[in-house]
Amino acid sequence: MTTHPDPAARTADATFGPDLVEVFGPSQADGGPDLVQLLTPEGERVHHPDFDVDLTPEELRGLYRDMALVRRLDVEATALQRHGELGLWAQLLGQEAAQIGCGRALAPQDFVFPTYREHGVAWCRDVDPLHLLGLFRGVDHGGWDPAAHGFGLYTIVIGAQTLHATGYAMGLQRDGVVGTGDAARDAAVIAHFGDGASSQGDVNEAFIFAASYNAPVVFFCQNNQWAISEPIERQTRIPLFQRALGFGFPGIRVDGNDVLATLAVTRAALQRAREGQGPTLIEAYTYRMGAHTTTDDPTRYRLSSDVERWKLKDPIARLEVHLKRNGLADAAFFDDVAAEADALGARLRAGCTAMPDPDPLAIFEQVYAEVPDELVAQRDGYAAYLDSFEEAGR
C-alpha cells in the first residue's frame, strides 16, 4: 500500500506574492496615483512626465465649445424624452470630457465603434445629433452611414462591438494602412465600452484577439463607476486599466473629466496603434452624473453625496475656469457658445418632434440583399392588408 501526501499539510512559507489590491489599489480608489491629469478640477494646468498636449487658445476654446454643445444636446434629449418625444435616452452628463477628448484625438481615417452613450464622440464624427434622437425615438436603429463618418452604429448588446473593432483593425492591417509612416494614411480603431462591459466574455476575447494579432485598436473604457446599479467593485477589485497587463498590452488610467488629458492619452494610444505597435487599453476615470437612462432611478442605489462630490470635478467647469483665468476666452466667446447651444437645442426640438414615423412597410426592407420570395409575399400581403383598412375607411 502506498501513502498519499496529506492534503491538509501546508508549507508555512507558501506565498503567491503580495495582495494585488494592495499593490494596485482598489478599483474604486479615487483616481489613484496612476491617473493622468493635465487640468485639475480647479482648472489648473498641470504637467505629466509622459503625456502632454500643446494646444492653441483656439483649440482649447474648441474643446470647450464641443463639451458645452454636447451637454446641451444631452439636456435637450433628456427633456424630449420627458415630453414623450423619445422612448428612452442614455445620458452622457459628466462624461463630456472623456468623449470629446477621445473624439478629437481621432484622425479622419480612424474608425469608432461606440456603445449607446457616445453622443460626444458622434458629435466629433459629424453625426447629426438628430440621428441619435431618431434612434432613441424609435424611428430606426441608427440613421447615419457608418462608413461615411468612420463611426459605427450604436451597439446595445454589451461588449459585442469590441470584437467588431478588433476585426476592423485586422482589416486595416490587411489593407496595409498600419505602420506605413504616412500620417494621412495610417489608421486605427477605437472600441468604446463601459466599466460593466469589462466583465463580458466578448470584451476579454477582443483583448485576446487584439493582442494575438497586434491589431491597431484602442480599447477606450469609460469607467463611470456604475453599470446601471452595480458599482465598479462588482466587476473588478483592482483598477480596471490594469486588466490589460495580463493580456500583455499597456493599460492606462486617465482623468476622464479632463479633456486635455483624455485627448493627450487617446492621441498617443491611437498613434501607437497606427504605427503598428498594437492595442492599448485606456480607462477614462469618470462618473455618470445622471441616471443610467431616463428610465432609471439612481436614488435607489447610490448616495447623492457621491454625486455632489463628483460635481466638483465637472469637466466643463474646469475648462471654463482655465480659459477665463488665463484670459483665453472672453465673455463674448461664452455668449456665443451659449447662443449656439440655444440654437442647437431649438433645432433638436423642432427636428425631433417633426420626425415622421417610418412607413410600416419599412419593416420588410433591408433584411436581405437578395430578398426571398417568401418575404416579398409577407410584405405584399401586409401591404394589401393595410390597404384593406384604408379602403374600408373610405
Binding site: G87, L88, Y116, L135, F136, R137, G138, V139, D140, H141, I156, V157, I158, G196, A197, S199, Q200, G201, D202, A227, I228, S229, E230, R234, Q235, T295, D296, D297, R300, Y301, D357, P358, D359, P360, A362, I363, F364, V367, E374, L375, Q378, Y382, Y385, F389
Partner: protein, 324 residues
Amino acid sequence: MRLTLAKALNAGLRRALEDDPKVLLMGEDIGRLGGVFRVTDGLQKDFGEDRVIDSPLAESGIVGTAVGLALRGYRPVVEIQFDGFVYPAYDQIVSQVAKMRYRSRGRSPMPMVIRIPFGGGIGAVEHHSESPEAQFAHTPGLKVVACSNPADAYWMIQQAIASDDPVVFLEPKRQYHADKAEVDEAATPPPLFSSRVVRAGSDVTVLAYGPTVRTALRAAEAAAGEGRSMEVVDLRTLSPLDLPPVLESVRRTGRAVVVHEAHVNLGLGAELAARITEECFFSLEAPVLRVGGFDTPYPASRIEEHFLPDLDRLLDAVDRSLAF
C-alpha cells in the same frame, strides 16, 4: 390580494425564498435596484446579498455559475435582464443546463429557472423586444413556460422553482405593470405544464401564450359581437406542449389559429400546426393558420405595432380560417 404581474412574481419569488433556503436569485441589478422592472424589489434587503446576488455584467457567467451552484445543491433563479441579452448565455443554456441531467445519467440534476422578460410593445430600443422561445423549446432537456396573468405568474414561478428540471420562464414584459388581478394565495394552482382553455367557443380554436393571450381574449370578445365564437387556449407550457386540451378543442371546432410575437418561420406555431394536423387530420376544416411577428428582425419601435400580431391581424386569420 390584487397584484400586477410584476408584483405577483415578486410575491411568488418571496415565497419561494422563504420556503426553501436553497433558492437563490441571481442577475444584473436585481439586488439594490430590485431589477430594471422591479420584479425582485425588496428581496435582497430581506434575504441578504448571499441569496439575492447582484452579478458582474456577463450572462454566460451568470448562467455558468448558476450551473455550479445547482451542482452544489442550490436552486438558482436567474434573471436575464431583457430577452435580447440571453444569447451570450446560450451556450451554457443549451449545452450545459439542458444536458446536465442527461449526461450524468440523472446524478446531477439541474433545478434552475431562467427568467426572461420577453416580447415587445414597450417602445424600447433594439434587442429589448425579442421572443426567443422557439430556440429553447427546440432544445431537449429544457422546459419552457410563459405566464400571461398575475395569478398564473404567482403560482407558475413557484412551481418552476420547485421543478427539478431547468425551466425557461418567460414573462410578458409588456404586462408587468398593466392591470392588476386577484391572486388567491390559498388557491390550488393547476399543474405547471398544463394548458388551459381561458374562453370557451365553438367556431375556431385560438392558441396563444404570454402577451398574446390578452390579444386573443380581446379578439374573441370582438368576434363574439359579430357572431363568431372563438375558443381561446392559454398554452402556458411551450415545452413540453400540453396537447390534449388543444386537440380536444380543435377536434370540436375544426379550426385552429396560433398567435405569437415570435417570427412565424419556425415559431411555436409551426410545431403546433404540424402536431395538430398529424393528430386531427380528418377533423380539420382548414389548415392551422399562424399569426406572428414577421420574418424580419424586430423593427424600430415606432412601427413595432405593425410587426406585432394584433387584434385585427388575428381576426383576419380567424376569418381566413372560417372561409376555408
